[in-house]
């Protein structure tokens, strides 16, 4: 069933209906913007629904005779109403737009005569920002930044406002919709992981093989500055956890020279986790990048100035996102932020996990090299793997992120939000996290098990591991620690392993049977075994040298 999005606004939002392909949710316009409209939306909303509150203070500003205090009071009243219902409606998601400063003022240059200018808007925005920090089911849509980016004149239409109380041009509604989608994509984890880049005429102007290292356009002047700024944007994206890769047709020697000798390269060789610089076709390169990183093709965004390459990669690998670059090079940075970052890499919070992501993948590739050199079991032993399994002091945001992003080693592929996870813990469901470390470094939290206890059965509702650590038999150690804790806390139950086949989790099809569990009667996918028996099996399967700590 499709979720519903309830729209509560003080302006006419019906023109959103003109915008195609809305959000994958059915939009219900509650009409009106006051406590009673919110009450109406809340009464209708069921689990999984979204309430979008959009307040526009701009148009009302011209004729208003309200004092700044009254304007502030009005805005806060709605927010306080929302706040008082957040805890009681944890399964409903609230998205609220912030507000922008009004451009209309008759006082022209004498700013000091209106000391109240902006006070209401700033107070309201501060309250909204604070609520996003305090509540998991409350998100902010940064309308303010949209107005800054496209300008009042670019978004607003006085004609439509006076005729129908619709304040925006259709372009404005489209941008509002795409920002709303971006916020929701971030919340539900519908995001990409890797940015794959071409080099010539993408990261710099010109062709290095022809123009030489000194001839390419990359500098603090003119067109070169547009490419430099584009690189800076990419670099900051990397710093919040997006992996970078190169897929280009060049002589590796030329490219190495650029990395070694060009003073203005903002991106360094080490910033790229995988580089495919050769003369093969880009589809083959793309597939290899995906295989090396152990990620599905739907985790990738490919940026290339050549329409031929974009059509070729996008045509043969439809899972890869291939955005169209602007014709004008000067628009690269603006385009990148609005059409690539907001669309494919939106984020609500930056976790420590994100900051260390690129480094972790480099360690992952190092391990892979070693595993090719020696046999698998020797290799695992040589890693000095240590895992920590614990059910207290859980990092809920990371665990929710794992359920959203993990596809391959994921037995049931159930997606949970932070709010869902908190609710489960409140309901007494046992949740286990696993942290991984080895001699190459710490991977952080990479495993999650959710166990629901019912009478004498313990159901493995979720059992997943990040693809970064697949193939090291860690899963057996993790399950062992979980089963041991279940026996300790709840007794010798029947462990039930649920398996829900998807397109991507074929890898774990036989996981439970490999632990010696057997198919349940009347089921083709679910396995069971008594906990003590399972523990015995798993102890025998632990690789030598692996340290399992239970906290």
């Amino acid at each position: 069933m499709r979720n519903k999005l309830y729209l509560v606004s003080n302006v006419n939002m019906k023109m959103l209906g003109n915008v195609k392909g809305f959000l994958g949710a059915d939009v219900v316009d509650v009409e009106g913007y006051d406590v009673s409209s919110l009450e109406k939306a809340l009464a209708m909303a069921v689990s999984g629904d979204i309430i979008f509150v959009h307040m526009d203070m701009m148009m009302g500003y011209v004729p208003t005779s309200m004092s700044a205090d009254a304007v502030t009071e009005n805005g806060l009243m709605v927010l306080k109403y929302v706040e008082s219902h957040l805890e009681g409606n944890k399964d409903v998601l609230f998205v609220v737009s912030n507000v922008c400063l009004p451009p209309f003022r008759v006082i022209t240059h004498c700013l000091d005569s209106d000391l109240n200018y902006g006070i209401s808007e700033n107070t309201i925005n501060r309250k909204i920002a604070m609520m996003t920090v305090m509540y998991d089911n409350f998100l902010m849509l940064d309308f303010n930044s949209l107005v800054m980016m496209y300008g009042y004149c670019g978004l607003y239409s006085a004609d439509y406002f006076y005729l129908s109380r619709s304040p925006y041009k259709q372009k404005g509604y489209e941008l509002l919709k795409s920002r709303l989608e971006s916020v929701l994509d971030a919340y539900y984890g519908r995001i990409k992981k890797v940015l794959v880049l071409d080099l010539d005429n993408t990261l710099w102007g010109g062709v290095v093989g022809e123009d030489g290292v000194d001839g390419i356009k990359l500098s603090n002047e003119g067109i070169g500055k547009a490419f430099l700024d584009f690189q800076m944007c990419i670099r900051s994206l990397r710093s919040i956890g997006v992996l970078l890769a190169i897929n280009s047709k060049n002589n590796p020697i030329d490219v190495n020279k650029v990395f070694d000798e060009h003073k203005q390269m903002a991106l360094k060789r080490d910033d790229f986790t995988v580089c495919k610089i050769n003369w093969r076709d880009k589809v083959t390169n793309m597939k290899e990048i995906a295989a090396e990183l152990g990620l599905g093709l739907d985790s990738f965004v490919f940026i290339d100035d050549s329409e031929f390459e974009r059509n070729y990669v996008g045509g043969l690998l439809p899972e890869v996102a291939v955005p169209t670059l602007p014709k004008d090079v000067a628009e690269l940075p603006f385009w990148f932020i609005n059409e690539v970052v907001y669309k494919y890499f939106p984020k609500l919070k930056i976790l420590d996990e994100d900051r260390n992501k690129a480094q972790q993948y480099s360690a992952y590739l190092e391990r892979k090299k070693l595993s090719v050199a020696v046999g698998l079991s020797e290799y695992i032993q040589s890693l000095n793997i240590a895992i920590d399994v614990y059910s207290k002091n859980l990092l809920i945001s990371r665990l929710a992120q794992l359920t959203q992003k993990t596809n391959q080693f994921n037995l049931t592929t159930k997606r949970y939000t932070e709010t869902d996870m908190v609710k489960m813990l409140d309901d007494g469901v046992a949740v286990y996290a696993m942290d991984y470390a080895d001699k190459f470094g710490k991977e952080g939290t990479v495993g999650l098990a959710i166990v629901s206890i019912q009478k004498t059965w313990a159901y493995l509702d979720t059992f997943l591991m990040s693809c970064r650590i697949i193939g090291r038999r860690v899963e057996y150690a993790f399950l062992l620690a979980v089963v041991r804790d279940i026996i300790h806390r709840f007794g010798n139950m029947t462990i039930v392993g649920l398996y829900n086949p998807t397109e991507k989790n074929v890898l774990v099809k036989d996981f439970y049977s490999s632990c010696g569990m057997h198919l349940m009667n009347d089921s083709a996918t679910d396995y069971e075994l008594q906990a003590d028996k399972l523990m015995e099996n798993l102890v025998g399967m632990l690789p030598t040298g692996m340290v399992v700590r239970e906290k």
Partner: protein, 80 residues
Amino acid sequence: MKSTQEILDMLRPVLAEVFGVEKSTITMNTVPKDIEAWDSMGHIKMFAAIELELGINFGIMEISECESVADLIKLMKEKK
């Protein structure tokens, strides 16, 4: 200057999309009461879509005085 027929051909896909009707429904003689979705809000949506899709802007008087496809085409002729 574009002919009446050419302008009608430009408008047809835009109006059909906004009002959710077949392109053939939109003719020179179409007036709001012929199309269910062409109410006062539909009227604004139509002009907003024309602005975005065809890049033609109208003023508030033009929008409020336009009462048919024929009026709309007349307005557009004045613009080009």
